[in-house]
Amino acid sequence: MDVLYFAWVRERIGLPRETVETGATTVSELVAELRAREDRYAAAFADLSALRVAVDQELTDFDAPLAGAREVAFFPPMTGG
């Protein structure tokens, strides 16, 4: 599964995307796995209320299922326009 990071999430983790082998069935489970990896991940995912998530390029929630997902992205609230 491809995991993408944008804005300060990308900067805190130190890379824009990576391929992750995971058995996570929900976004929350994936977040728990990532948090456990290293301090920089723990720091990036410290406050989920400051983060948004997209699964296969659709905005969703942290309890969304990952069955069949190819791409998960984490980022702060958007500031377009």
């Binding site: 804005a7 905005l59 609230p77 958007m78 500031t79 326009g81």
Partner: protein
């Protein structure tokens, strides 16, 4: 409907003229243009706009489709830039054409409210004081409640 996500600048005059051209059936055309505004301290050197290629286009197309469902619109245009911009540079524009002015205005405001909080762009301001990600405002999220 035209949606463009691009690094290049756009010619606002040419875009508006082309959008408005020959609309015998549309009485009202509204445009919004967003410009990089300098900081209160007056020392913004650049704005960097990051986006999520692939999702950006889909998200904007979804927002525009929702607007077209909700209002009687003849046409919609959205242009949004990414990359490094300077103060005074154009960031983005939307245009709506409708038979009546209320529809054209409301649809343009709807597009702006959703582009602000639901299209995957992130702005960073660079100044003498350093680089700061622009923080989403509660009022931008609240603005969606009106629709």
């Amino acid at each position: 409907m035209r949606i463009a996500v691009q690094e290049a600048d756009f010619d606002i005059g040419a875009e508006v003229a082309a959008f408005a051209h020959g609309r015998r059936d549309m009485g009202a055309i509204v445009t919004f243009t967003g410009v990089v505004r300098d900081l209160a301290t007056g020392d913004l050197t650049a704005m960097e706009i990051e986006h999520y290629p692939g999702m950006t286009e889909k998200a904007i197309a979804g927002i525009a489709a929702k607007a077209a469902e909700r209002w009687s619109l003849g046409d919609v245009l959205v242009i949004h830039r990414h990359g490094r911009l300077a103060p005074g540079d154009r960031i983005m524009m939307v245009a709506t054409a409708a038979p009546h002015r209320k529809d054209a205005f409301e649809a343009a405001e709807y597009l702006m409210d959703y582009l602000k909080s639901r299209a995957p762009f992130w702005k960073k301001e660079l100044s003498a004081a350093g680089a700061d990600w622009v923080v989403a405002k509660d009022e931008d999220e609240d603005a969606l409640d009106r629709w």
